[in-house]
């Protein structure tokens, strides 16, 4: 058996009814692959992993894999994950969200989870659109593009998810694409081992909804676009603003140390016990 096939068998749920819900060519499977490879390399036990998602095409990711899995409400995945992590800090809690999920309806939870530095990994699959509901514009739909709810053009300005995470206080922030698969594997692994709130924004394509409406071609064409427009953060520092105008950076945007919530709360508990003389 090829290595990939072996991994698939090791982690996919065998009692789950297949096929999956995604369109052929969707990038979500690549993201799931990167997560499974990182989990395998790091040697995590299946029982210690909780995979939590919101609602959307991206939200369907956990159902296929053999971990403790939780498919929450739209935008709220991080809140459920916060409860799990605080109740059982020994669990490895991984949260998967869509762009709408994480930055529209769940935007408030996202910035606060980052600010608190809760020990979680957040993987945000950014396809610039509401995929599941049929191609309405999201907070990351670029200015001027079309969506079912922006039939003329989108006049809102897009969030830069990774930079939002940096500003909100995340201790690790990476951005990758589904085209740069090897980099994505590395970013996901780094985020998993990071103590504190780690974020990986994954730029991907929704050729079915976003691509078709904006004449961006099929999945392959859209992945080529990723290849041509992504610039390594290291290289970007040497480039002019003009050169970077229609580009986005990939790689590690931030990797820093800040006190981790669960550890801090343990100190609070100690203080509380001492206050009552225990």
């Amino acid at each position: 058996m090829a290595e990939v096939t072996k991994l698939v068998h090791k982690y996919l749920r065998h009692d789950k009814k297949f096929p999956h819900v995604w369109c052929p060519g969707c990038g979500n499977g690549i993201v799931l692959g990167a997560m499974i490879r990182a989990i395998d390399r790091l040697g995590y036990r299946k029982d210690e992993i909780v995979m939590v998602s919101g609602i959307g095409c991206s939200g369907r990711l956990p159902v296929y894999v053999d971990f403790n899995t939780l498919h929450t409400t739209h935008g709220r995945a991080l809140t459920f994950a916060t409860g799990i992590k605080l109740a059982k800090p020994e669990l490895k809690v991984i949260v998967v969200m869509g762009d709408g999920d994480a930055t529209a309806i769940g935007g408030n939870h996202f910035i606060h989870a980052a600010r608190r530095n809760i020990n979680l990994t957040a993987i945000i699959i950014n396809n610039n659109i509401y995929g599941m509901t049929g191609g309405q514009y999201s907070p990351t739909t670029p200015y001027g593009m079309k969506a079912t709810t922006a039939p003329y053009r989108n006049i809102e300005h897009a969030f830069n998810i990774a930079e939002l995470a940096v500003t909100a206080g995340a201790v690790f922030v990476g951005r990758g694409t589904v085209y740069h698969a090897r980099l994505l594997d590395k970013l996901v692994e780094k985020a998993f081992i990071k103590r504190g709130f780690g974020v990986v924004e994954v730029i991907t394509h929704c050729h079915t909804q976003y691509g078709r409406r904006n004449r961006l071609g099929n999945a392959v064409a859209m992945m080529n676009w990723q290849k041509e427009h992504a610039v390594r953060v290291e290289k970007a520092t040497e480039m002019s603003a003009e050169e970077l105008r229609d580009k986005f950076t990939i790689g590690v945007l931030v990797d820093r140390e800040l006190p981790v919530y669960t550890e801090q709360y343990n100190l609070v508990r100690q203080q509380a016990r001492e206050s009552i003389g225990r």
Binding site: D47, V50, V63, T79, F80, T82, I84, A87, K88
Partner: protein
Amino acid sequence: MARRRKKRPQLLQGNEAIVEGALVAGCRFFAGYPITPASEISEILAYRLPQVEGTFIQMEDEIASLGAVIGASLAGVKSMTATSGPGFSLMQENLGFACVAEVPCVVVNVMRGGPSTGLPTNPSQGDVMQARWGTHGDHPIIVLAPSSVQDSFDLTVKAFNFSERYRTPVIVLSDEVVAHTRETVLLPDPEEIEVLERITPSMPPEWYIPYEDTSRGVPPMGIFGDGYRYHVTGLIHDIRGFPTARADEIEPFMGRLFRKISQHFHDIQIVNQFMTEDAEILVIAYGSVARSARRAVLDARGKGVKAGLFQLVTLFPFPRRDLEPFLRQVRAVLVPEMNMGQISREVKRVNEGTTRVLTLNRIDGRMITPQEIYERLIKE
């Protein structure tokens, strides 16, 4: 907690008694967002929970609060949140999630005047129907209404027991008067209190079918991290927990959701009866209004009117079976409430024209006094 163990009278307010009840029941996780008149519950638990290895967190809003509570419960910790009307509205989406995914949790709603920001510091019973039907979709729910400080303690323990036993969210519907009244209560020794734990799977993990029907209708609950890996979702799911759109899987699932509550009505439906045996006119009341009603019944009896009080402790599932015999016995029932008639609708529904249903409503942020009820009793 050690210093509270001794059984001696304590002067507590309703919100404090809720905290004591929660801690005795084994609550070790609380997530909340400040709101009057429920804030004391958060404040005291922020102080107490870390003393007993528990966790308190103030979330960014009430949606997040209930999300975190559900997450903690899935990880095996008894969990609670507390709020008031505006926050309760925000919790409705995740409340439905807890119903469908069958996650035990307790939600305290200390009612204040509404709608909207309403009357933050005034009493009301305006959220009765929100507690029953607030979340979307057809679902059963358990709602308990304390009328005193003692009740606040007892019913919080009960709420945890019901939620664990039936794997369902339970709402403690308090009101501003009960929450802030100080009364002397005698809290029982923790050893004397019945505390129930959820049933967890005992079979080998490979045999575990997470949403399989049982005789009680409540499947054992796998705890995240304990070796029973399964899928939890707000989508309607098959017995393995996977989303389904098949009618032959939806129907048994929804059926079980209702049946696990209806099959245990005798356990869940709590009422307190006072002078009802020979009553000719019955007051049906709950929450702080039941206190006024009790006084009014005594006064009416003093004037020779055969009045009685039927206090609803469980509001939902509505204690229909206990009430029905009285509807045939009395010449009228009077339902006083601090809303425009939310429980009286339920009474009329089960009454089906058997007796006269009279209402007494106040929505001006004032309590219903014993005098008001008394005057109606002697007039009828």
